[in-house]
Symmetry: C2
């Protein structure tokens, strides 16, 4: 997500993160899926995750933050403080893989805000163990913009990761093809790489002007009423 026009990153991230939280809430109701593990990468997508965690808490969920490499930007730190002020739990980072494997057992749904559209291999530690561990958990996954480990244009690619036991013991090398989310929330517009994504697909980030939409031939679907998210048709029905 980049700051476009006269928008500040604070504004764009707020609307993007709200759309992510609303997508989780749309698909996974808080009675059955209260415990949302919000996994944040170190970049702007991690910021979207932090905003989403805060809104999920407002919606009555019990989000838990997993942030093994907190971002260094000022906005990231402010978003972290906002979550702390709302008493949102944060997994300890002393041994993040063990923390994650323990937490996954009591998680109902995972929000994947780890890597965004600018991701390029290699997958660095600890994410080379985080991604396979999340994939192995079998828990429902909602990915932000592009599933973590996918290429923004090519979609699924093979990346080098690690073997991980369900107890969080990291072993040898393992080829991995990225997360397989159940739900995807594309921001501003779907990226080329998710063309073949077959799960439930939402669009958020309702701040693109008509002029921009026409200039880049985005052909965005119409959002209903004052909604901040819209569900897209499945590829088979296109």
């Amino acid at each position: 997500m980049s700051a476009a026009g006269a928008f500040s990153l604070d504004q764009l991230m707020e609307l993007a993160g709200l759309a992510c939280a609303q997508t989780v809430a749309k698909v996974y109701n808080k009675e059955k899926y209260p415990r949302v593990l919000v996994c944040c990468g170190p970049g702007n997508q991690g910021g979207d995750g932090l905003v989403a965690a805060r809104h999920l808490s407002q919606f009555g969920y019990a989000p838990v933050l997993f942030m093994p490499k907190p971002g260094g930007k000022d906005i990231y730190k402010r978003l972290q403080t906002q979550c702390a002020n709302m008493s949102i739990s944060l997994l300890p980072n002393e041994d993040p893989i063990v923390s994650l494997s323990t937490s996954l057992q009591s998680t109902d749904v995972i929000l994947d805000a780890i890597f965004g559209f600018s991701f390029k291999p290699p997958v660095r530690a600890p994410f080379d163990a985080v991604l396979p561990l999340i994939a192995q958990s079998g828990k429902p996954i909602v990915s932000v913009d592009i599933p973590s480990g996918w290429d923004v244009e090519k979609g699924k690619i093979s990346v080098a990761t690690k073997e991980v036991s369900s107890a969080g013991q990291v072993g040898g090398d393992k080829e991995f093809e990225g997360l397989d989310p159940d739900v995807l929330i594309s921001l501003t517009g779907p990226k080329l790489g998710v063309k073949q994504f077959a799960g439930r697909h939402f669009l958020g980030g309702r701040f693109v002007s008509k002029a921009m939409e026409e200039k880049f031939e985005l052909n965005l679907p119409e959002y209903p009423g004052y909604e901040q998210i819209v569900e897209l048709p499945r590829p088979s029905s296109l």
Copy 2:
């Protein structure tokens, strides 16, 4: 609206303005009420109005901005630029009262983002003619946080304004008791002064933490699902 905790004004204003736009959209559908005149004061409430105008444009309305005294803050200027980038019309300020009186004839609903909770008399020019002119128009009014001209604690008070003809000719002095909106959108919590407000009343600004809510005994109602606004019961049914 003040920046609280680690929130930036950009974030709070974005959520507040979104709630204002959603309230307009909830009550006045865009097929019957497409032309929303968004009246902005020079302070933070004017900023909420600018954000609302942008979202209303996204929702498919045709907002027009009336901003006879644009605010001087950087955020105000950025919000103005964002509206201009979305091709949102702005009434000319050469003779604001004549502009306003002409525009009111082709307006379906007015969003009153003129004065906020920090308003204290006197009502300065040109707002001493703007307020009576809006009141005389008979058009539906949605007020933000506190109807313009009301005192945040005392509610309706008498303020000195001007006589204005429907053509926008300003005359002698006139006592005035503030706008009488059909709809009110309170931000974060209803203010003491609107206790007797009898129209449709919404609450927005869903960013108050449980801890803050308890500390200030706000007794806020529960928002439904992932909504950013909630309608409050009328005083008679309390």
